[in-house]
Symmetry: C2
Subunit: 305 residues, 2 copies
């Protein structure tokens, strides 16, 4: 089952003719999360041929417009497309007030519930889990309250080595226990250790989304050893002062965070519209963290085992 991230927008506050504002779809083993929802997100989702009906969880990092102005259009389209699933929105509690008049205008027709989940901007918190994936929010450092998100596969069970099922005539109930770590005792009392009966599970994969933030090493513990890290880099070091003043990061800042967190790979994004090319970001970051890529609208990053 895939664990992958599709970039829908890699621009910062003002979009360009080829970069949309921030939005990503995370497909975590068949669970779809829309993370931020800048203007035009629904058009980008359609271009990527991702079914609207798959998206039931929308995470909004903060309330700057380039991270949520596409939300009302998504909701309106869910409705026009006849989608009936409830939609869960994880965001600052103020988001509801910001779009409430527009929701009221639609209300007569709305065919699903919208459930708002207020984020905690003080400490990391688990905001979602099911049998396959868990999602955490964690505070970033920006001009208004802002969260990052960490997506992590749940621990899997060990893999049963099939030959032993037949050899020892292991009943189904026992197979379940063995997959969770139990040894097996044969009818004649022989103990077969779990390590002999199973192979270890695949390690859980993980992805961290660090939306708008100043350089903020306090996040490193939360995202430690993440397989794939998205970290904003609005500017390069040449405009370090701008980054500091606007509470954004440079490519070098992002690379330092990736290095400190021992990330598997770094994706840069949220590029200021003043940069036509992203090569300069890559050069800057790769000096510190070679496994760096630049986000491109429409690109999918797969996390393999």
């Amino acid at each position: 089952m895939p664990f992958e991230v599709t970039i829908l927008g890699s621009s910062s506050a003002t979009p360009t003719s080829d970069r949309y504002p921030t939005a990503q779809v995370i497909n975590a083993r068949g669970r779809y999360f829309l993370t931020d929802c800048g203007e035009g997100t629904q058009i980008q989702i359609r271009r990527q041929k991702i079914g609207f009906g798959k998206i039931r969880h929308i995470l909004i990092s903060h309330l700057h417009g380039d991270h949520y102005y596409g939300l009302i259009g998504m909701i309106s389209s869910f409705n026009l497309l006849g989608i009936h699933n409830d939609i869960h929105i994880y965001s600052h509690s103020q988001l509801k007030e910001l779009i409430q008049p527009q929701l009221d205008f639609l209300k007569k027709e709305l065919q699903f519930k919208i459930i708002f989940h207020p984020l905690n901007f003080k400490t990391p918190e688990k905001i979602f889990f099911d049998d396959k994936v868990e999602v955490y929010s964690f505070p970033l450092k920006h001009s208004i309250p802002c969260c990052g998100f960490l997506f992590r596969e749940r621990e899997r069970e060990s893999n049963m080595i099939k030959e032993y099922i037949e050899l020892y005539k292991i009943p189904v109930a026992d197979i379940k226990k063995i997959k969770k770590g139990a040894d097996f005792v044969t009818d004649d009392g022989m103990i077969i250790p779990n390590s002999q009966l199973t192979t270890p599970p695949l390690p859980p994969r993980s992805y961290a989304f660090c939306s708008d933030t100043a350089y903020y090493p306090e996040i490193v513990n939360t995202i430690k050893n993440v397989d794939l890290l998205y970290h904003e880099s609005t500017f390069t070091e040449e405009l370090k002062e701008w980054a500091v003043n606007t509470l954004h990061s440079t490519a070098l800042d992002a690379a330092k965070i990736a290095q400190a967190a021992n990330a598997g790979k770094l994706i840069l994004g949220h590029f200021s519209a003043r940069y036509k090319e992203t090569e300069i970001f890559l050069q800057e970051a790769r000096k510190v963290f070679p496994e760096t890529e630049a986000a491109v609208d429409g690109q999918t990053f797969k996390i393999s085992h």
Copy 2:
């Protein structure tokens, strides 16, 4: 000076991967009007390389989201780009309430005034004029109050034939009068008739924008003899019943309006997402009104004399 219409979006309620929701820029002799502002309008404007600073008047036909969800993003970008011109918005009075919480969130930074002009949905009304162009709103027939807009060049002055200025030694003050229709009297009392001194002015050009509407022949008088007519055609006759039920038009409806109005040319648009191609709309409309084109995102229609 050009008089031209650039299509930014030709889709109806749900955008497709290659058709944005409704928005157009009308350049009427250097005056720029943004007419409707669906989601993604600012990205389309950037692609067309139209300067944001040129747009000071935004006309919103009605409050369905596909006609205004891009407005808050435009306003936010005006601000981020350091634009200081006041912005005039012509719309239903309720628009202000719908976006007010989002405007308040921006407010601390907003560097220009937004002046809301409520539209009249009962009778045609002049909503703007200057020395070059005048703009009228007029009611359409839709599920919520909806206006079309008529853009018309002001009558120009006659053209002075230059040779006569020297021949009769005509002073500057008299030239101005002659251009407005006066005869000229020479020092020895001879009357030179205006018709001899001037050539007639170029006829005023005009464009009508008929946003979401059922077939509604009541508009024909208002848009009579218009050079270029945009009329929605969400469906073709095959789905006539849908058009009737949703208060939209078919391509044939649009063609009948163009014919009755004696329009110079018809542009169809607001195509339902169920149609992959627009050829079927053209075939249907051209049977009644051969001078029909289908709107394509990014296309500019120039009105020549």
